[in-house]
Amino acid sequence: MLLRGLTWLVLFQLLGTAIQALCLPMLPGPIIGLLLLFVYLVWRGEVSAPVQEAATTLLRYLPLLLVPPAVGLMAYVDAIAADFWAIAGALLLSLLVSLAFVGWLMQRLIERQARREEEA
């Protein structure tokens, strides 16, 4: 089950990589694979059990898969230290402002949609 689902995911990723090399160099292969799988799922109208199992398993271990790239930090300590305050400031400020803005915007839009539905 798990292997069958994994085979599908790998197939879609490889298909994505082939398409990237052929005609879409600006999009990462796995992203093309994601879009292809999404279109396929919408077309099928359901997720088959093996694909769902493999996807759930992989996504549960996503944090583990992200550890090796994160360790890459040790190779860039100098680059970060050189720009430390600029980077820290940009990360924190932009996060807080955009978090508040996105939440506020969505809240407004939901309220507006609810009002319109009441009027209609």
């Binding site: 990462p28 994601l34 996807a55 583990l64 360790v71 930090l73 040790m74 839009l109 939901i110």
Partner: protein, 238 residues
């Protein structure tokens, strides 16, 4: 007779499974620590990263050697990205109910988030390599790493920025949003998922099921849109 300690040590450290082994071990320690304390600062990726770096420094292994060994793990980031299509598809019904609010928030909010990050970093005087690495900071790590590499940033560093952003969002997000008068669970969820990706999504799940579902939606939509639009717009501008 004397044992060749030096040789045995070298054989251990240079074994192809060494990097895999310490990563697995560090990750399980980190997950156990997080589950015991439930403290938001103890994000498993952050803690495992620090543990692995510590072990590598102690053993005198450099990052290039570790990266080669850990390729068994990183190669699965591709299929994991493809797997994000599944939660996206499963949330399709909820998207339809709030279709226009979600689309408008995604386009306006997502653009705002990305531009604000780049703009502030540029204003503070960071160089081009750093700008391109910071640009996808609000996107889930596999996508952020691919995208930053595509537009000329550093993949490993992008993952670090993504992680810091996510932890900040999970720590400050819910309190900040409530103070701004955001009450609807869908709005809370979208804000957390769109700006703080997976870490924000797991925080949103603690707020409730609807909030968590919209966070997953915000995360996957923001990821896909960034993956498609950011490399395209960078290619057009530069």
């Amino acid at each position: 007779m004397s044992f060749d300690w030096q040789g045995a040590w070298q054989a251990l450290v240079q074994h192809p499974l060494f990097a895999f082994g310490i990563t697995l071990g560090a990750y399980q320690l980190a997950v156990a620590a997080y589950e015991k304390t439930r403290w938001v600062f103890l994000q498993p990726v952050l803690v495992s990263m620090l543990l692995v770096i510590g072990v590598l420094l102690l053993c005198g292994v450099d990052y290039a050697a570790y990266r080669d060994g850990a390729r068994i793990l990183t190669v699965f980031l591709g299929p994991a990205t493809v797997a994000l299509a599944v939660p996206l598809f499963l949330n399709l019904k909820r998207i339809r109910l709030l279709f226009w609010p979600v689309v408008a928030t995604l386009l306006v909010g997502g653009l705002f988030t990305t531009l604000l990050g780049i703009g502030l970093a540029w204003l503070f005087g960071t160089e081009r390599l750093m700008l391109m690495t910071l640009a996808p900071k609000s996107v889930t790590s596999p996508i952020a790493m691919l995208v930053s590499e595509q537009i000329g940033g550093v993949a490993g560093l992008a993952a670090v920025f993504v992680l810091i952003t996510g932890i900040l969002g999970a720590v400050f997000g819910p309190a900040l949003l409530r103070r701004c008068g955001v009450r609807h669970p869908a709005a809370l969820g979208i804000a957390l998922g769109l700006t703080s990706h997976a870490v924000g999504t797991s925080r949103a799940l603690q707020e409730g099921e609807e909030c968590g579902a919209f966070a997953a939606l915000g995360m996957s939509l923001m990821g896909v849109c960034t993956a498609i639009l950011l490399p395209l717009s960078v290619a057009m501008v530069v």
